[in-house]
Symmetry: C2
Subunit: 423 residues, 2 copies
Amino acid sequence: MKQDYAVRIDPVLAAGLDRTKAAADVCRARQTLEHGSGPGAASTGWLELPARIEPELDRLEEVAADLRRHEAVVVVGIGGSYLGARAVIEAFAAPFDPAPKVLFAGHHLDARYHRALLERLSGADYAVNVISKSGTTTEPGCAFRFLWDDLGRRGDRELASRVVATTDRARGALRELADAHGLRSFEVPDDVGGRFSVLTAVGLLPVAVAGIDIRALLAGARGMMERLRDPAADSPDTNPALAYAAFRLAAFRAGKRVEVLSTTAPHLGCLAEWWKQLFGESEGKGGQGLFPAALSLTTDLHSLGQWMQDGPRIVVETALDVVWEQPLAIPAMEGDRDGLGHLAGRTVHDVNRIALAATLEAHRDGGVPCCRLEIDRLDASHLGALLYFFEYACGVSAYALGVNPFDQPGVEAYKKNMHRLLG
Amino acid sequence: MKQDYAVRIDPVLAAGLDRTKAAADVCRARQTLEHGSGPGAASTGWLELPARIEPELDRLEEVAADLRRHEAVVVVGIGGSYLGARAVIEAFAAPFDPAPKVLFAGHHLDARYHRALLERLSGADYAVNVISKSGTTTEPGCAFRFLWDDLGRRGDRELASRVVATTDRARGALRELADAHGLRSFEVPDDVGGRFSVLTAVGLLPVAVAGIDIRALLAGARGMMERLRDPAADSPDTNPALAYAAFRLAAFRAGKRVEVLSTTAPHLGCLAEWWKQLFGESEGKGGQGLFPAALSLTTDLHSLGQWMQDGPRIVVETALDVVWEQPLAIPAMEGDRDGLGHLAGRTVHDVNRIALAATLEAHRDGGVPCCRLEIDRLDASHLGALLYFFEYACGVSAYALGVNPFDQPGVEAYKKNMHRLLG
């Protein structure tokens, strides 16, 4: 594996955007990020994470192995305490798995889902990883109450052996609970915000429980970290994160207001959700920021293709192009009645990539500047590299827009209303 | 059930939009739709479908019952031949079902998915419903080749008994195949486009195979049809589809470019995908049309909430508020360490709806005009009503924008490139 080339950017498709001026601005923004001279600098611990997390790995793997002995592990979290782990787990999940090891809860307030979950777990041998910095967030709090109640009926020893908390080191409701009951616990670092926490225990424990190689994930992230933070990689030509940030900045300045992330496989759908939080929550402030949306190709060509080709020209597209996927040849058909005889013997993935190339060309010609991100294959190492790539590009991109990438003041508004309406 | 009120609209939240001028325009657009005087009028057969489909129901139910005897039924289709059925089936699917009756294929070109599907089906007792007007679309064509090849090895009688085609009455590749092999078949009407076809055999057969009451679905749609097409329901005050269309038109004219459909349960995610095709493909033409996006609440408050509250003010929000859901009370917790003691004893759904109300108020105050659609409960009848409601509102809305709601000229661009790249 050529780690240096885990992510390549093809900017040729970005016709119509002035990336030259944007280039200078993202280079300055990178200095702000690297020097810790911008707002929110106390939350840039994620920059070092791929190296810094190393000492925790033995214990993470040990606890994960213990949790895996249970029939199922319920991961309770929302937002940044949910999306990263789910993105990685789904990227490698077997389609049609009738009994996945990791189940998710606490990420919404749907009664039907919770009831089905409790039925599924009734009498089952399961464990819980509850993830919350504070321990007082409504959704994971509600879900955790159900599970704590259920396990509590089985006795205190069951609680202590079956519940692992990922939370603040010293403070907060979940920390207190963990200490009071002698739960095993992992730390959510103070200098890493939720949406940048996938490479802490927040993401790594559930990912390890799912059987994914977290050392490979981190090795990929570390390779990307070294590449992007190399002082010599100081321009969009030498630093793909700067190239991507410049593309986005130029797009916003040209009046674009929506960025679509196109992926080419359904198992990348949650990665797109993680990406949406990362960029949307980091940049969507004071009237700034592209609206992040996702296309799952080729599915969505048959639903949103028309709008992409011919709707308001406020959109840019970033496409994730995975070079290698397992080969599966399209079979012949007697008589070729379906008019698809030219596809017989080609691999499904080959046709999928050709469809992507055709789509990006068409969208560009239709007035949608495109940015193709190429990764060699989708394994843990390449995915780790990609996660770090997006995080770094996001920090740079938000600083270039002039916003603090690491706060989220707007999310208080509905919470205030909610407390009022709940009395 | 009060059928007349299956959908209520709360316009109070739409602060800042001039819906008065839009009201006159959507009323005119409704006349265009009803009189068949606009472009694409030959494709308005869906207006009558809830009544017209009646004579097909006995045979649809009979074939569905026969298909249900198999362990699994693979539904092969994409776009309008896929999303409607999946939206209805997922709305009622049991979470964590280890062996769903209906599997989907032909909606993308992911090799890993196809390989897993073939492994799952290997030696299994399964049937296929292949859905395509032409029979030559790439994605369903590829998937169908795999299944046809597999079943073909089991002999010709297996093909004839296990494959049901939903296709053109008289022409096309799939019609020829069905006739040549004596397959059972259903018709895709000429006067109903793909994205309006959920209430034809295209949607109804898979839905019936999944065990859902298609007569209740159609009864709800019929009730809504009679309500919306009532000549007396000629203003936004008396016709909720006109109210919704006026909201959307006023939004576009006020410079809004994104419409978010917010749903409050994960099982409504595919309904949002269906809605995205319906409106995006009908309106996204000649620079017109809101970009349709989806929020799954409360999940996405913790990812896109910040952008919604404080990003560029180009967005409006439509929220689906389901009044009744099965009650499930949040348990007490000793000591209330999580600070959520005030929620103990309340139902999860109650808190979910309060979160939605709090969110819409916050978004409106943040400059996002909102439209709340209220349905009494999510059963087949109410869902049928909702599907028709959206279709009717879409036809009106697109005519009011000045576009043909029933064509999709832009989707040819990537197909042309694809044929070139495939040689």
